[in-house]
Symmetry: C2
Subunit: 180 residues, 2 copies
């Protein structure tokens, strides 16, 4: 059994609770800016600062003051996107959610689909304009070349990030009082 009722997002000091909720809210806004529902971002934010890292749907409902349906929809959405994962425990009928370690570069890899789409669109445009003079086709040519390059290099960059991380060659963590 598990302690319920209390909100389980690291209430380590009384004043910090407000700040944590504000933090969650800002993550929500940031994720909303990336095209996902704001509530999805809130769930992600709640899991980021959750203590313990696994949270049940009810706990998320309590911390976010959201409806069960929202939490259910958003957890499924986030799981489908590879950003969180569900974990179940023997002898416990609840499902728990926690953020996946590679959520953020997964998030970045998701931009590959639009990139492919734009490159394909540029190719289509060039086909439509194949008889036109060079200065008329210039824009489409630039577009095609850029996205072709990007489509090739972006996965490479993610790979080299993973390699650097696995070798322990990582950017340092921020100093406590670093610039915003």
């Amino acid at each position: 059994m598990r302690e319920t009722g209390g909100v389980a997002i690291a209430p380590r000091a009384s004043g910090e609770r407000q700040e944590l909720l504000a933090f969650i809210e800002e993550i929500g806004l940031a994720i909303e800016g990336q095209g996902l529902p704001r509530m999805a971002g809130r769930v992600l934010g709640a899991l980021l600062v959750a203590d313990p890292p696994e949270q049940s749907a009810d706990e998320l409902v309590a911390t976010l003051h959201a409806s069960r349906s929202s939490v259910s929809t958003m957890t499924r959405l986030l799981e489908g996107a590879g950003l969180i994962e569900r974990v179940s425990r023997p002898g416990d009928r609840k499902l728990y959610y926690r953020n996946r370690p590679d959520a953020w570069h997964q998030r970045t890899l998701d931009t590959m689909e639009p990139v492919r789409n734009l490159r394909a669109l540029a190719a289509r445009g060039l086909a439509l304009m194949d008889g036109a003079p060079p200065d008329v086709r210039r824009g489409l040519i630039d577009m095609y070349r850029f996205y072709a390059y990007w489509e090739r290099e972006l996965p490479r960059m993610i790979e080299s990030w993973k390699a650097a991380r696995d070798r322990g060659e990582l950017p340092p963590l921020p100093e406590p009082g670093e610039a915003p």
Copy 2:
């Protein structure tokens, strides 16, 4: 003086007009997926396949069947974002618009602001959780490290793209019947 009334998006064959409009519409959808208004994407698309490349506001209104206010708002938005530019001609009171050659990597560079924001958020989260055990902070640590890396590498990649382009080392253009 300039030919007006007729729609000036490369009407080089009668059947292609439909396809060009469909192309513009898809660019609109793609840009909408990036967080800009769909109409902004349509303007960008229209300028991409425009013949001649410079188009007046009225011509855009005609091709897009949009209102003057939309076109005015969107051209200003796109100019502010560095995606198109205005050009004026002596002895002509109209303004003309054309797409900027570096529109697409500009578009990609625009993702830097969210990246900086997310890194800063991760730093804030780490500050809030500074006494917590490592497994609780793990998610924030991954987030911070990834975005710090990305913030450093993304501008480098754009630069190396520009360098490759200026040296003429570019991905080849698509073959006429290439894979979608």
